[in-house]
């Protein structure tokens, strides 16, 4: 199925525009979208680092975890919106390079896990501001370590797509 989506995108009108390297304005689409993607990652990483480090017991701000998670959520969603749009532009421009690549697929799986964890932190603490302290402190510590580890993996995988994991296609 992924192969079909990749093939379909390869023959789409948008792909023809995004991958046209003969004109300056279309040649710039990929580097510009990659740059904005890195900016989005930076904003997201700061938010994720502040929240997860706090769960590890390292306080970066004067706010409680409940307050911080509320404050940073809009940054997280804004950054994710930027990442989604710029990521889609890159997928449409080079579908085979992204979709037909194991490194990219692993990156998407890690992303799904981390987002589920982040939403869970927020949901629980919204109901009970002290949810992640007391008896659940160790669980919070483990989940935060996993989150930070996966985030670094996501960034590494994103760059590694350019080097490894390509699936042979015909």
């Amino acid at each position: 199925m992924l192969q079909e989506i990749s093939d379909w995108l390869s023959h789409s009108q948008l792909n023809a525009i995004f991958s046209d390297t003969t004109r300056l304005e279309t040649w710039l689409i990929i580097p510009l979208s990659q740059s904005l993607h890195i900016l989005g990652i930076g904003i997201l990483m700061i938010a994720i680092a502040v929240l997860n480090l706090q769960l590890l017991g390292i306080r970066v701000t004067r706010f409680s975890f409940a307050e911080n998670s509320a404050r940073w959520m809009p940054w997280i969603w804004t950054a994710l919106a930027i990442l989604l749009v710029t990521g889609l532009v890159q997928i449409i421009a080079e579908p085979t390079r992204e979709i037909m690549n194991y490194t990219f697929r692993i990156k998407m799986i890690m992303l799904a896990i981390v987002l589920a964890l982040t939403v869970t932190y927020r949901r629980q603490v919204k109901k009970d501001p002290n949810y992640w302290s007391g008896a659940r402190k160790n669980l919070a510590f483990s989940l935060a370590s996993l989150s930070l580890f996966l985030w670094l993996g996501i960034i590494a995988a994103g760059r590694l797509v350019a080097y490894v994991g390509g699936i042979e296609t015909f």
Binding site: W27, P31, I38, L39, I46, V60, L160
Partner: protein
């Protein structure tokens, strides 16, 4: 200058970075990850200076919160960037995007110094202002524009 670069290029160290299959991608991952943090933390401070976000918190509080991240990641980005450069110094200086990128980093630095030593005087009057005075907003906007341009130029180096 050219002699120095030629010498760097001829060292065993440069050769190792050039021929290894994994050193370059590894350095690149570290460089990009550090740059992401530089941009993310600076964007937050600049957007506050420009009066767009976190209007209920003082500028100095946001700066204190973010600047350690900015400096630590800038130091790492520079370290890994220099190592990437050492692999092919003669090639990079001939890429216009590289030269423009270095110039833009210098301009971002000058903008920061002007803000720190001139504009920031009298910070007490506007530190808590939801929308700071226009010269402060311009400093924030310029900073963000410089850093995004640095980012774009850096990425473009890989495309030529």
């Amino acid at each position: 200058m050219w002699d120095l670069l030629t010498w760097i290029d001829s060292t065993q160290f440069a050769e190792t970075i050039r021929i290894s299959l994994w050193i370059f991608p590894a350095l690149e991952i570290a460089h990009v990850a550090a740059i992401a943090i530089v941009l993310g933390s600076i964007a937050r401070v600049d957007l506050r200076l420009a009066g767009f976000v976190s209007r209920d918190r003082s500028i100095s509080e946001i700066s204190h919160e973010m600047l350690p991240w900015t400096w630590a990641s800038f130091a790492l980005a520079t370290l890994f960037g220099v190592l990437l450069f050492v692999g092919q110094p003669l090639r990079y200086v001939e890429v216009a995007f590289f030269d423009v990128k270095i110039l833009l980093i210098v301009l971002a630095g000058v903008n920061m110094l002007v803000f720190e030593y001139v504009t920031r005087r009298g910070v007490g009057r506007w530190d808590r202002a939801p929308i700071p005075p226009v010269q402060v907003r311009i400093a924030g906007g310029l900073s963000l524009a410089f850093w995004i341009s640095v980012l774009v130029c850096g990425r473009l180096i890989g495309f030529v």
